[in-house]
Symmetry: C2
């Protein structure tokens, strides 16, 4: 089979204006960006709100493994399958970060014959949204350090000179890093504002750092805002630092929220693209799935639900991560939860989840994982069963998509399909990677059937509860653990955030995706664990508190043989090597 | 009169596709970016090369003052004036940085009724070129630190593991900073790669810093590349650091040049916009005019010269800066120099150049400067005379544009026009700010006359000369000084760069724009000065050596009352306050 980029570049794409017309988008709602991309104007939100509403299908997966379960392939493939059986469908996906494309992984546009195209545009700048997030974020950072510098330099004269109230930053309590869309480990911890002795011309010296842009709270805000007005308000609520008396200092108080909104204005418009089979696809926002909620935007969903009968979207990692956050964070902000869940599973992925293999990053994978092994599969099935039950906990019908790989045997696939059927979920094989939509028609039919079932979406907890109660619910009901273990820091954080008036926000668990628990070593379905809570961080603009249960990496590094070595252009500008 | 943004937002712009058709651009050469912007495809370069070639008019100015001479206003106004009198004309201008928009200044789209529109799009992201420069630059920076880290960590094992030759970076000789399009003084000097004691997970600790993106060598490369192939080659030639044995380490050797080219591919396409009167305008690249050459791109010029009969462009600062560099650096790379020069002068600017006023940044301007003062004007005229003679030195006919301000008297303007005429240049009043093209028809006619004169463009020096000889020519003939004073560092730099094989490159003088000399305190026409040369820096990809004659600021700061305080959006996304 051809490489992803070869398939993508060989595809005969339709002009994006044709895709838009077929999707029911009006000319004045479309802002073309070249031949195959277009921004959708905010005015479409109003029309979509009064149109008949489509159904929202959320694709999730078993606990992720180094093998790749093919969640985006299935999301795109399912949308193509639904299109093939005559449904009016759109897909809504996250925008991949550009930085990691030059690091270890290839593209993130799906794969095989289930891709969003052109894949090199999706994986590079697209329409500039991540650049806008980076710029708006770094403007706020520059504003903090500038204000810190001028208030300190002018002293009492600051208020007199400018007619603005001094904010009295505590330089050690600035919580706003800078960001860059690049894998750059040397920027994780930096000392800024270094001066010649006795000078201050370069600002106030302090320790800080850079995160990758997708980790910016602004990326979460872009994904959770319901429209431009809401975006502007959320930007004002962002807490950048604390004052010497412990009060939160917001972007509104610094006076930078309006300029941030100006920078983000166009980024608030989803980008319309197409799958290889011409299914209209909205690409919008790409927040992390640990320190943020890991789902594409509410604005894109709102537009798509007013245009299509079925909208297929996906959440990051397994159902304990992106799906949970879609239900407890995104659905709350959107006022709308998913109407059905699709859980992607693979034979190899379940075997890897059996706990019988030692799978460490960078090590060669054991061959046995790719061969028939009834015991490993049975042991691994428990993980799938947990994710099925987890999705059901939110009141939505569940369809399991068995993403077939070439060497998979019919015997094992049939055994697995039976087990799923017995567990009360629908099940269908997906061969979307190799066959595109034609390989996903059974899956599409199962999803249509599931959507016809009565369902009542529910959140896992009432956000108005105290923070500690929400954390307990997450640990015990959300993950099946035995409770939480709050560090002294976490207790102090809970007290402080509650006192500051943020106790009503939902919690966003920053935990490993590699286990249902907090501990990546606990495979399958862990039960006897207590979730450690190390600390809590406020994202007042995004509207959640994220909860550290372990170390979280917010700035990746480049390996000793990074992906950029393979990437180049020819004289005509064709890009090569992006998926190698 | 209305504010710039009010005029721009009230203007009835034509769809960019109409502008393109009128300019002779074919549908398949146009890549629309929304309604009022479009990228021009590289394929246009080939067609333009074989078309009849237009004439290139380069707008420059007297020595700049804090008052603003209106060079971009005149550039846009002149193009509108030429259009008004029936010429087939295009304008080519630089893309303004976004960072400074949030700092002290307003927009940079021209002003009044001579603007490129929409001004808020020009001043913010435009079509993402500066973001691409930032990303490509920072990828190279991340690649350096990653390679440094892995080579050090793996030692002899590096070559064995990767099959790549170790580059043996001297960590103290990395010459490649990181960049951000933001005014952020706290990033000027930073310590990166900070680790817990005994750890190396965050890379190798060293001092570094950020420059503003416009100061990136990649911005100069974007402006000087003749096509994609040339861009790719130049990227490979960029010197990032030196090895422990003193050899230059290029981006090609690091293996990152291809990926940088992939990031910059779309940025190599100029952006088509329009003036308020519908003159097609190419916006492309915005390199600094001190450490780089301060002119818009060769690619844009090449396209425009194949489409229009007259192309109006501008160089940064006075004729000793952007104009000189257009002639000695850009023209050499393009194989084409300007066909005529327009020197912009104002009554107030000449008075400010008389040396009779103490004009310091941040201080209120003396009122006398705005009032009739024959003596100050006469003293200041010497500066204009120098710039006229300087432009003539390059063999091109000169037109002086007197940019009228509302309080200027006819008596003084007439006196000045007579003096200019006596000095052998054409002269015309420009009222382009207040009246648009109708206020620049006299200027347009003078330019058409000038273009009909016989002219023979010449460089100031032969680039093959030794570096020191080129510096002497610049100081003595370029500025009228008494020679150069090389520091020990500069001597060592010259020896080293010559030995490394870069002695044949043209020199790019990084000097103050506020005097014809190196010293901002020397007003009017300084003569008895020696240009100090502190050090030389190689830009092997851009193809010049820049020469430090004083401190150069490559990262601005934000003031205590920055411009972002005024900027906001409304619910419909209209941007306010960008020119306040």
């Amino acid at each position: 089979m051809k490489s992803d980029i070869a398939i993508s570049q060989a595809a005969e794409l339709r002009p994006i204006t044709d895709i838009a017309v077929a999707a029911g988008i009006r000319t004045d709602e479309l802002i073309p960006q070249g031949q195959y991309k277009a921004k959708l104007h905010q005015k479409l939100l109003k029309r979509a709100a009064t149109a008949p509403q489509g159904k929202l299908v959320l694709v999730t997966a078993i606990t992720p493994t180094p093998l790749g379960e093919g969640k985006t392939v299935t999301t795109i493939g399912l949308s193509q399958g639904l299109n093939t059986i005559g449904q009016k469908v759109m897909a809504c996906i996250r925008q991949p970060s550009m930085g990691p494309v030059f690091g270890v992984k290839g593209g993130a546009a799906g794969g095989g014959y289930s891709q969003v195209a052109p894949m090199e545009e999706l994986n590079l700048h697209l329409t500039g949204d991540i650049h806008a997030v980076t710029a708006a974020h770094n403007l706020a950072a520059a504003a903090i350090d500038a204000r810190l510098f001028h208030e300190q330099k002018l002293g009492d004269g600051f208020e007199e000179k400018n007619g603005m109230k001094a904010l009295n930053f505590d330089a050690d309590s600035v919580v706003w890093n800078r960001v860059v869309d690049m894998n750059d480990r040397a920027l994780r911890r930096i000392q800024i504002g270094i001066n010649e002795p006795g000078k201050t011309v370069n600002g106030i010296e302090r320790e800080s750092g850079f995160d990758i842009s997708a980790a910016s709270e602004l990326m979460a805000i872009l994904a959770l805002a319901s429209d431009l007005k809401d975006l502007r308000q959320r930007l004002g609520q962002v807490v950048l630092a604390y004052s010497r008396s412990g009060e939160a200092i917001t972007a509104e108080q610094v006076g930078v929220a309006g300029a941030m909104a100006a920078i983000l204005r166009d980024a608030a418009q989803p980008t319309l693209m197409q799958t290889l089979e011409g299914v209209p696809t909205l690409v919008h926002a790409g927040p992390f799935a640990n320190i943020a909620h890991g789902n594409s935007s509410i604005i894109a969903d709102r537009m798509a639900l007013g245009l299509a009968d079925i909208v297929v979207t996906e959440g990051g990692f397994g159902s304990d991560m992106g799906f949970e956050k879609a239900c407890n964070i995104k659905a709350r902000a959107a006022g709308k939860g998913p109407d059905a869940a699709v859980v992607v599973a693979t034979l190899r992925g379940l075997k890897a989840n059996s706990g019988r293999y030692d799978l460490r990053p960078g090590q060669a994978l054991p061959k046995a994982i790719f061969e028939p092994d009834a015991e490993a599969l049975e042991a691994g099935f428990a993980n799938l069963k947990w994710h099925i039950d987890n999705a059901k906990r939110y009141g939505v019908p569940v369809v399991v998509a068995l993403n077939r790989f070439p060497d998979d045997t019919d015997a094992e696939l049939n055994w697995l399909a039976d087990k799923v059927a017995q567990s009360g979920a629908k099940v269908a094989l997906s061969e979307a990677f190799a066959k595109g939509g034609a390989g996903a028609t059974e899956l599409a039919k199962a999803v249509v059937e599931a959507l016809a079932e009565p369902a009542e979406f529910t959140h896992l907890y009432d956000a108005e509860q105290p923070i500690e109660a929400k954390l307990l619910t997450m640990a015990e009901v959300g993950y099946g653990g035995r409770g939480i273990d709050l560090s002294e820091q976490a207790k102090a954080d809970i007290e402080r955030l509650t006192k500051l008036g943020y106790g009503h926000l939902p919690v966003c668990m920053a935990k490993t995706p590699l286990s249902i628990s907090h501990d990546p070593a606990l495979k399958g379905v862990p039960t006897d664990f207590v979730v450690p809570v190390r600390g809590l961080r406020l994202c007042a603009g995004a509207g959640f508190i994220y909860v550290l249960t372990g170390n979280v990496m917010t700035m990746p590094g480049l390996s000793d043989k990074p992906a950029y070595l393979n990437i180049d252009i020819d004289e005509d500008g064709n890009i090569t090597g992006i998926d190698e």
